[in-house]
């Protein structure tokens, strides 16, 4: 891990990308900080939802949505309870957890990615077998997991897709969360968490069936559900921001997706997601797909890429409709009817 950030890194960590904002926040922060926190809880909330500081520094909003949710998240971490962020794909769960870790511990790299194949070593510790054979069990032969390191350092560790972790691996977290201790029976010792240690997990709402959280583990979390954006303007803002960012990394000109077209795509997604027209006058059936903001973003980016590389250079709403159809129609019987009815209403309006 190097402190310097070479310019050619595709995606720098949050604490590097927004180092200036974090420094400004820390400089002007005179409120009490919980032990080991880089910022006071109030300043962390400001970092997330944006604002202008006393010294004139403008903090960009990382989360566009209800301030209330960020306050609950930060207050949770301040009470030493673990935080579980739930939400549909594309509701900025990972994004929020990364920025929380960056603002609180100044380090968002302590990360366990949950998959079906994640082993217990990833949340406890593993062994350097060469050393283990040569020297026998010792701290030198032990390979600490991100959770282990976070406990030692008093930092925030993140677990992505908690519900994808196999049940026994999830269970290994229970002692860590309730006793703040990780026993190491091989060495007859333990790691005790220092102040500032905490855990942020993210999970997908619709994934509940994969490896459902045991109630024992669930009870150790405060849960915040990140909703789909509340207003169309909010959602258009999110989509435009992300489309511009993604477009830049794919070398697509921002003009390829005019604001008007983005708004229309977002409108279609919202109307189908909520089952009613934006003006509230028409009701629709709701398709089985999630119709998330993330999908709206990918529809627009895909449309841009098609238009730039194979088309006229600027997306048209009619072309985007095909992309939207692919998001809508998941169940060929039900969703086709839904989509047809929706298109009819679109033609009528």
């Amino acid at each position: 891990m190097s402190a310097a950030t070479p310019d050619d890194i595709l995606r720098p960590h949050a604490e590097h990308e927004f180092a200036a904002e974090l420094a400004a926040l820390a400089a002007g922060d005179d409120r009490p900080r919980p032990p080991q926190w880089r910022l006071s809880p109030q300043a962390v909330v400001t970092y997330l939802v944006g604002g202008t500081l006393a010294d004139g520094t403008v903090v960009s909003p990382k989360y566009i949505g209800e301030r209330r949710l960020m306050e609950v998240a930060v207050a949770t971490l301040a009470t030493d309870r673990a935080l579980l962020l739930l939400g549909l794909p594309g509701t900025a769960k990972t994004w929020v957890s990364e920025h929380l870790a960056a603002a609180i511990s100044g380090d968002s790299t302590l990360l366990v990615q949950g998959t079906a194949g994640t082993a217990e070593e990833a949340v406890r510790y593993g062994w350097n077998y060469a050393r283990l054979l040569a020297e026998g069990p010792s701290t030198n032969a032990l390979v600490p997991s991100p959770v282990y390191r976070a406990m030692e350092r008093g930092a925030i560790v993140r677990i992505e897709e908690l519900t994808r972790l196999p049940g026994d691996v999830q269970d290994a977290l229970i002692t860590v969360l309730s006793e703040k201790v990780m026993p190491i029976p091989e060495l007859g010792g333990e790691v005790q968490a220092r102040h500032g240690f905490n855990l942020i997990a993210t999970a997908n709402d619709r994934d509940r069936g994969v490896n459902e959280l045991s109630s024992a583990l669930r009870r150790r979390f405060n849960t915040v559900i990140l909703p789909t954006p509340a207003t169309i303007d909010e959602e258009v803002r999110i989509v435009s921001q992300r489309v511009a960012a993604l477009g830049a990394s794919l070398a697509l000109p921002p003009a390829a997706a005019p604001d008007g077209e983005i708004r229309r795509v977002v409108e279609v997604f919202r109307e189908l997601r909520h089952g009613r027209s934006e003006d509230g006058r028409i009701k629709f059936k709701i398709p089985s797909g999630t119709m998330s903001t993330a999908e709206a973003i990918s529809v627009v980016v895909q449309g841009m890429s098609l238009a730039v590389h194979l088309g006229t250079g600027s997306v048209r709403f009619d072309d985007l409709l095909h992309g939207i159809e692919a998001s809508v129609v998941r169940d060929p019987v039900h969703d086709t009817v839904v989509w047809r009815e929706y298109l009819d209403s679109l033609a009528d309006r």
Binding site: P41, Q42, V45, R68, E71, V72, V74, A75, T76, A78, T79, R81, L84, L86, S215, R218, R219, F221, N222, T223, V224, I225, G275, I282, K283, K285, V333
Partner: protein, 761 residues
């Protein structure tokens, strides 16, 4: 004495003048109520002046009655015009209520000094009972919201809680709060002074009246006077004896129109207190306020969560003691993060969501009814004057010549007579209202007869229900309409809604009908279930055909019926696919219901759509034979299929490629209890005969029960004729050869027929 400073303590220094305290409150604010209580007990007054209409003095004594349980509302109405009424609700935590209770317990006289209702109701516009003022007057702009915005709060309610309610004043602190509040209000009023606003004449009259009341009290020998009024009015009452004031105030009240008014108490509920519509008092969380008022202290939050845990456990939501602790910690931590002195409902809600609900709103939804809004229902003593609803019912009963009797009485109504129609409307309204006086023993039935039979029995519960329903409205008509709409809000299914709509039509409640039609329309748009749609269509079609619907509602109703019928037509084919024996029978019944409902509505395009669906069903694979047979029969009856088409379809259904059971089901559906078609159509009979004869032995045995059932449903005469036709061969017509007609006797019969049909012969 010239008074410029607004603060009451400074306004009336000790001396010869009596000590007057102006205790500004926020209506329904528990913090205000506590402050009032501590101010009153710290320095008891000789007389207590309260900002409620002057006539209320007559019924204030009832507040001290043992059977009086808040929440209750003071109800004032114009005598003879129960629709012109006003409700003033009070909860246990309402400062006025606390002041009343204190005064009665301490034997201190109470004066009600607000503008008398005989003036305010005389000119009151509209038929809707009006909402009383919420935070100190019916101003166009909310002063509290301005204050809160100035302090950087987006929610005025929260600002008030932080700055005023959570101060927990006691003794001298309370006085400081009242003084500070008066300062703030003076500052606010200097910007939007109602005295300068010609539009706010009502407000000026009220304040003039309050000043007159205060001056009257000061003229007595009372040395210590306390005034409990909305904080907004404090600056207007401070300069009470400024020169020329008395004359100006008297002028403001001369020449006002008067009305004869009556006042009473009615039971209220927390739910109604919280409801944003109707005559709610604009309190969003009476249950929460009640808790704050009752359990004020350091453990108020943990107590709330402990209570919440108990309710959640009763609702089968696992909630441990550790959860209670964690939720309390999070609520406090959030309050700290947000810079609030004490966790409020917002923090408590957020904590409940994150800890108890694991992110979902479910626990708060469960708790909302019990703890946030509260289930509390008030009660009033038996000696309370009669509510207008009961009076209106008594009037109606007189007009309908229906006397309340304790024994069971059967009433036959002929709806063609105006009196009976009026009675029917009244009884249907009471039924919608849930007043258990009459039960409909026999309705108008499916074909809309003009007869209804009712069983009547008057029991004490009727009166209780009337008092309970008093909050819904002041006349039977308005209350039953409100009740219908309230039920529609919580209706679970489309059929329940259309049932309500039908009853509202029977009860002659045009306003409710209009609203219900819209609700049905909305609900219909999202209902995809074929069964529910058919269930909903039938009563609506009936209402449209036979109901007494005003022309405007008829159009709306027709639109809804059309919408439902369209959806049924469009969803017909998917709903018909892949049904088993039992469900296909149900579906066949629904097809018949739809057909007769559509016939009642009589719109060609709807019928055409229905027929298109049927045509597709007839041709579609994976549709049960019974359904296909019935569809074919319906199309044949409507002449949508030519005879040749029918023969071809039946032939296909009965050909060797179709399993015998399916073919038999088709026959059952097609013949559907009426064999006449076989008597008159030799081709069909031939096809059927060929099919039966061609069946292999085991197929025949399998199909036999179904065929037997089909033919068993025919009339005996039909069976006999069919049997004869089969025996004599399909080409021949045995009847021709055997029946000899006597022309004279036939002629006599034909003459009668011609007469009946109105054709000349």
């Amino acid at each position: 004495m010239t008074v410029t400073a607004p603060a009451p303590v400074r306004a009336f220094p000790t001396g010869l003048a009596p000590r007057v305290r102006l205790l500004g409150i926020r209506h329904h604010g528990p913090g205000s109520a506590r402050a009032i209580l501590s101010a009153l007990s710290a320095d008891p007054p000789d007389v207590l002046l309260v900002e409620v209409p002057a006539e209320a003095e007559r019924i204030v004594a009832l507040v001290g009655h043992d059977d009086m349980v808040p929440p209750v509302a003071m109800l004032g109405h114009v005598v003879g015009r129960p629709d012109r009424a006003v409700f003033l609700p009070f909860a246990s935590f309402s400062p006025e209520w606390v002041a009343f209770r204190w005064a009665i317990e301490h034997d201190v006289p109470v004066r009600c000094i607000d503008l008398p209702l005989r003036f305010s109701l005389a000119t009151g516009a509209g038929d809707q009972p009006q909402l009383t003022d919420v935070t100190g007057g019916g101003r166009p702009v909310d002063p509290i919201a301005d204050l809160a915005a100035a302090a950087g709060y987006d929610d005025p309610e929260r600002w008030w809680e932080d700055v005023i309610e959570h101060r927990s004043p006691s003794g001298t602190d309370a006085a400081e709060v009242f003084a500070a509040l008066a300062d703030v209000m003076t500052e606010l009023r200097s910007r939007t002074d109602p005295e300068l606003d010609p539009a706010d004449v009502d407000e000026r009259r009220r304040e003039a009246c309050m000043r007159i009341g205060l001056r009257e009290a000061m003229a007595t020998d009372a040395r210590r006077i306390d005034v409990v009024c909305g904080a907004w009015h404090v600056p207007a009452l401070a300069p009470v004896d400024a020169p020329g004031r008395a004359r100006a105030d008297a002028r403001a009240l001369t020449g006002l129109a008067k009305a004869k008014v009556a006042l009473t108490w009615v039971p209220w509920t927390h739910r109604r207190l919280a409801s944003a519509t109707g005559y709610g008092a604009g309190v969003t969380a009476p249950g929460w306020y009640d808790h704050l008022f009752t359990h004020h202290g350091p453990d108020v939050i943990v107590r709330w969560f402990a209570q919440a845990a108990r309710i959640l456990r009763a609702a089968d939501v696992a909630t441990s003691a550790a959860d209670v602790v964690e939720a309390t910690r999070l609520a406090h931590s959030l309050a700290g993060l947000r810079g609030r002195p004490l966790a409020g409902l917002a923090e408590v809600g957020d904590a409940a969501r994150a800890v108890l609900g694991h992110g979902s709103d479910q626990p708060m939804r469960v708790l909302s009814a019990d703890l946030v809004v509260g289930r509390r229902i008030g009660a009033v003593p038996a000696s309370t004057p009669m509510v207008p609803l009961a009076r209106d019912l008594a009037d109606e009963q007189r007009r309908c010549r229906l006397r309340p009797e304790a024994g069971v009485k059967t009433l036959e109504l002929d709806l063609r007579k105006p009196l009976d129609l009026r009675r029917s409307h009244l009884l249907h309204r009471l039924e919608l209202l849930g007043v258990p006086w009459a039960y409909e023993a026999e309705g108008r039935g499916t074909v809309g007869t003009f007869r209804e039979t009712w069983q009547l029995r008057w029991e004490p519960e009727v009166e209780i229900r009337l008092i309970e329903s008093a909050a819904l409205g002041t006349t039977v008509a308005s209350a039953s309409a409100a009740s219908a709409l309230q039920r529609a809000e919580s209706a679970s299914g489309l059929a329940e809604l259309t049932g309500l709509l039908e009853r509202a039509l029977l009860a002659d409640l045009p306003d409710a009908v209009g609203e219900l039609v819209h609700t049905v329309g909305d609900r219909m748009a999202v209902s995809a279930d074929h069964a529910h749609l058919v269930e909903a269509l039938v009563p609506l079609a009936r209402s449209l055909r036979y109901g007494d619907v005003r022309s405007t509602d008829a159009d709306a109703l027709r639109t809804v019926v059309r919408g439902i019928a369209m959806r049924i037509g469009a969803g017909l084919v998917p709903a018909a696919v892949d049904l088993d024996d039992d469900t296909s029978e149900v579906f066949a019944r629904r097809l018949r219901e739809t057909q007769s409902a559509l016939a009642l509505v009589g719109e060609a395009d709807l019928i055409a759509l229905f027929h298109r669906g049927l045509t597709e069903i007839v041709e579609r694979d994976r549709v049960h034979g019974l359904v296909q047979g019935l569809a074919a029969r319906m199309l044949a009856d409507a002449s949508e299929l030519s005879e040749a088409d029918i023969a071809g379809r039946v032939s296909r259904a009965l050909s060797a490629g179709t399993p015998a059971l399916e073919a038999a089901a088709f026959v059952e559906g097609f013949l559907g209890g009426a064999g006449t078609v076989l008597v008159h159509d030799p081709v069909l009979l031939g096809l059927l005969d060929d099919w039966l004869s061609s069946l292999a032995a085991d197929s025949f045995v399998a199909a036999l029960p179904l065929v037997r059932r089909t033919f068993g449903a025919f009339e005996a005469a039909e069976r006999r004729t069919i049997g004869e036709r089969v025996r004599f061969g399909r080409g021949g017509d045995p009847g021709h050869e055997r029946i000899e007609l006597d022309p004279e006797r036939v002629a006599a019969g034909l003459t009668t027929m011609a007469h009946l049909l109105g054709v000349s012969r």
